[in-house]
């Protein structure tokens, strides 16, 4: 398969709907098919990165460990919108994954250097 640069954009909350889980599945499939895979967390998607998620209280399963396993699938490029982090009052120490904070201009550059952008 031709290798392309695939950017998966996670902009939905981790619980209450299943888009975040779908994004994770797409990221793992992309990496499994040897695509250069990166993730960008935007909007409510930044809450995916928060530590100590407790979805058991609403009968859901935590996605935290599954997202934390992404480096095992060779997905090491993780980016997060710095403004959205601030909006959700999250600092770098609140995050379970080492996502690199990006300013708006840097997000534009990231989008520009991706061949395929998939939004979830």
């Amino acid at each position: 398969m031709t290798q392309k640069r695939i950017l998966i954009v996670c902009r939905r909350p981790p619980y209450g709907e299943s888009f975040a889980r779908e994004a994770l599945d797409v990221a793992m499939a992309s990496a499994a098919f040897d695509q250069e895979t990166a993730l960008l967390f935007l909007d409510a998607g930044v809450t995916l990165l928060a530590k100590n998620q407790q979805p058991e209280t609403i009968g859901d399963k935590s996605l935290e460990k599954q997202f934390a396993a992404l480096p095992l699938y060779d997905v090491n490029e993780l980016y997060v919108d710095a403004d959205a982090l601030q909006q959700y009052r999250l600092s770098q120490t609140d995050l379970s994954l080492p996502a690199q904070p990006l300013a708006t201009g840097e997000i534009t550059q990231l989008l520009e250097r991706s061949d395929i952008v998939l939004n979830f």
Partner: protein, 131 residues
């Protein structure tokens, strides 16, 4: 001519996404473009459910996709992981999980996300409907 990969994420009935995707696909083919594959993911997998009974006078969405795909030789792929969770099963899966019926329309195939990655990588453009 441009080649497209299409993803349908929205459910039929409760969202317009599958109809919009189908209208786009028809217009693209009519305009001389090529649809490499249509991948049904998330709630979009309900498009492949042959058990849907629409109100009188409306053709079931699975039939509409099936007719279009057959006419233009287009691959209709339903994500197997999304589909099983939502009760969209072909005969093999129904048997495997001991369920009383196969609900997947025969014009659709169950497969994995690799089919979507493959379509995206090979198409010039990709579009998602219903996200």
């Amino acid at each position: 001519m441009t080649s497209f990969a299409l993803m349908v994420l929205g459910a039929p009935v409760s969202t317009q996404a599958p109809q919009t995707a189908l209208a786009f696909a028809r217009a693209a083919v009519q305009g001389g473009h090529r649809i490499l594959r249509v991948f049904f993911f998330h709630d979009g997998v309900h498009c492949g459910n042959q058990m849907l009974v629409p109100p009188a006078g409306q053709q079931p969405i699975a039939e509409q996709w099936a007719a279009f795909a057959q006419q233009h030789n287009i691959d209709l792929v339903v994500c197997v992981a999304s589909a099983l969770k939502r009760g969209v099963l072909d005969a093999g899966e129904a048997k495997r999980y001991d369920k009383p019926a196969a609900t997947l329309h025969p014009a659709f195939a169950l497969s994995g996300l690799g089919q979507w990655i493959d379509a995206c990588v090979n198409a010039e453009r990709h579009l998602s409907f219903g996200s």
